[in-house]
């Protein structure tokens, strides 16, 4: 009985993600943004969350570790934290105009990097890949 040993999904995804991260790092460094800070800006930009608890769930960042990111982002004037009038335990996190600008610039740079990374795929291959990736992520949104 021969084991074909097709490479595992975990191994493939790990390698590809490592490469994406490697290329992304200098782009974020240029903006002075730690990776998690950028992830948080992106989640806010996408409207995925308003309170810190929602932000934690949306990004997968532990709520206790989220705080140092928000502290730094707030200090830099990229986000604001304001108490929710409806339930004053909550704090609504919002992007400032500056935060939106910084995030958009980073996103553009990252988008260009991704174009380059995917350039080896034919248009149809690429469409199929991205479509399947989005499908899988949405199907299994833990």
């Amino acid at each position: 009985m021969i084991d074909m040993d097709r490479p595992e999904l975990g191994a493939l995804l790990t390698r590809l993600l490592r490469e994406v991260t490697r290329r992304e790092q200098p782009l974020l460094d240029r903006a002075g943004l730690p990776m998690w800070d950028y992830v948080i800006l992106s989640a806010l930009s996408g409207g995925d969350a308003s309170t810190q608890a929602e932000l934690s769930a949306a990004t997968g960042r532990d709520k206790t570790r989220l705080i140092e990111n928000l502290d730094r982002l707030e200090r830099r004037g990229l986000v604001t934290r304001t108490p929710d009038p409806a339930d004053r335990r909550n704090r609504i996190v919002s992007l400032t105009a500056d935060g939106r600008r910084v995030r958009r610039r980073c996103h553009a740079a990252i988008h260009a990097m991704e174009e380059e990374l995917l350039a080896g795929l034919s248009p149809s291959e690429r469409a199929a890949f991205e479509h399947a990736l989005v499908r899988l992520v949405n199907d299994h949104d833990s």
Copy 2:
């Protein structure tokens, strides 16, 4: 100028990898294998490396952290370390018959899990996805 904000590759890959890992963990726990131990067994099984330095490069595991994994695997009788006669600084790492068995059993369980994870894709979607993934990883083997 409207920013379409297509989700980024990094975010998508992170989420999917998180889900794969979450499903893989109990399978490895059942075999008593820490994640890295399994990665190392797999690399050896694939013939990607023979010395520890090569193993480190093949898996992306730091050479100093590799050692505790090899110590444990050797203690359990799943791998052997023997000095290379040609250059006695090197140590050749090999799978034992037991190591091969353990690794094959885990691989089978993980393979079944992946089948389930990908079940939502049509056969053509799935083929396209896997093909593109392998292409991208091979193209950018850092």
